[in-house]
């Protein structure tokens, strides 16, 4: 069953066409890895799903709601589609615990005590049980990103969007974030991940999508595509990534 459905979606920034009539179905439980050269539209495609970018043509249906259905419906979509950003974007005035408890309290209307208890459990899940009372500025990049994952999970989304979650991290901190993402995938979470981590794509991804120039040009099994990239542009891209 489709949870995300792009129907002929076009997105432009002024005169620049970023997505060209994209069609794409993503089913529950899939772990989709989106790759492509910079400017190919992969981040924009992701950001259209939770309507951080407004589409200009076609339709995009997430969990049976169109992104064009109006503000309150869009908020519904956003509650079902958690997002993790490249720059973490934690709320700097709140502790790690309050960052995680914030969504349930202000979005779902959960009481403070209950929200904090859930937040503690989620921080433990991402390996940060001891760091709850630290502010984001007191955490490493890898720790901040794990808090950000917990914050997104706290709203109990059906789908998780990752926008280059490890690109701003030092190499030695990436694996701690990737491990959390892998555990999440193993629990059956539907995930769409924009990344350059090919090992993650191979081991965790169930589907690999290669974008260029606003279009999906390759779509298939990650292990097979990475072992034998028939598309010459994909082959060239993979040489540059490694």
């Amino acid at each position: 069953m489709s949870i995300v459905e792009f129907r002929n979606v076009t997105k432009t920034f002024g005169p620049v066409v970023v997505l060209r009539e994209v069609d794409l179905n993503i089913d529950k439980g899939e772990v989709v890895v989106l790759i492509g050269p910079s400017g190919s539209g992969k981040s924009t495609l992701l950001r259209c799903i939770n309507a951080l970018e407004e589409i200009n043509g076609g339709d995009l249906v997430v969990d049976n709601i169109s992104v064009k259905a109006g503000r309150s419906q869009v908020r519904h979509i956003r509650q079902e589609a958690g997002m993790v950003f490249q720059q973490f974007n934690l709320f700097p005035q709140m502790t790690a615990l309050d960052n995680v408890a914030f969504g349930p309290r202000r979005v779902r209307g959960v009481g403070r005590a209950e929200a904090l208890e859930q937040a503690r459990a989620l921080l433990a899940k991402v390996g940060l049980a001891e760091r709850g009372h630290h502010y984001p500025s007191e955490l490493s990049g890898g720790q901040q990103q794990r808090v950000a994952i917990a914050r997104a999970l706290a709203v109990k989304p059906k789908l998780m969007l990752f926008d280059e979650p490890t690109s701003a991290l030092d190499p030695e901190l990436r694996h701690e974030v990737l491990r959390v993402m892998q555990a999440l995938a193993e629990e059956g979470m539907t995930m769409i991940v924009v990344t350059h981590e090919m090992a993650f794509a191979r081991q965790v991804g169930t589907r690999l999508i290669f974008m260029e120039d606003g279009k999906i040009s390759v779509d298939g099994n990650p292990a097979a595509l990475l072992a034998n990239p028939e598309n010459p542009r994909l082959r060239e891209f993979l040489q540059h990534v490694h």
Partner: protein, 218 residues
Amino acid sequence: MEFDWSVIGEAMPALLSGARLTILITIVGLVGGLLVGFLAGLMRAYGNAFLNAVAFAYVELIRGTPIVVQVMFIYFALPVLADIRVNPMTAAVTAIVVNAGAYIAEIVRGSFLSVHRGLKEAGLALGLPMWKVLVYIIGPVAFRRMIPPLGNQFIVSLKDTSLFIVIGVGELTRQGQEIMAANFRAVEIWSAVAILYLLMTGTLTLVLRVTEKRMRIL
């Protein structure tokens, strides 16, 4: 010439009552100015084209004219124009509200817009409506950044009350002027007046510094 301390002693009760009035005008005026400033600043930053234009016109009108002209207008021109008669004290407070409000609007707008776009997106991505993003996420971060420029404006407004001498409000400068006119002791009186202003602005600076330290500036 000889500095006569007894002159200051005799003048002090009147000067202190003037200082009290200065403080009163400043506090009431700034509370109103903050309300007006937040409203106008948020209209500028997040309002639609109409609200933005209204706030812009207000800010430009006030910033583009001297506060003395503004208070004269409120006190002398409004009664003629609209038959609105106000006492000098009301005119003084209104002038501070309107004048500080325009500058505070720009401080508010700048602080809110200076907050990293990613925080707004993170809030929206959780499924919050925009007003909650402003109240719970951007507002607190912006507020910390506002404290230094707001402090600046508070001090300017406090000193601007001295201009209300022109409409006869008995604040500190007016009191000094009246005593001086009676005893011609310019050095003693204006020294005392200056020191009283310094004490008031100094206290304000201290309060602001403590506030700033208590809220970690982000």
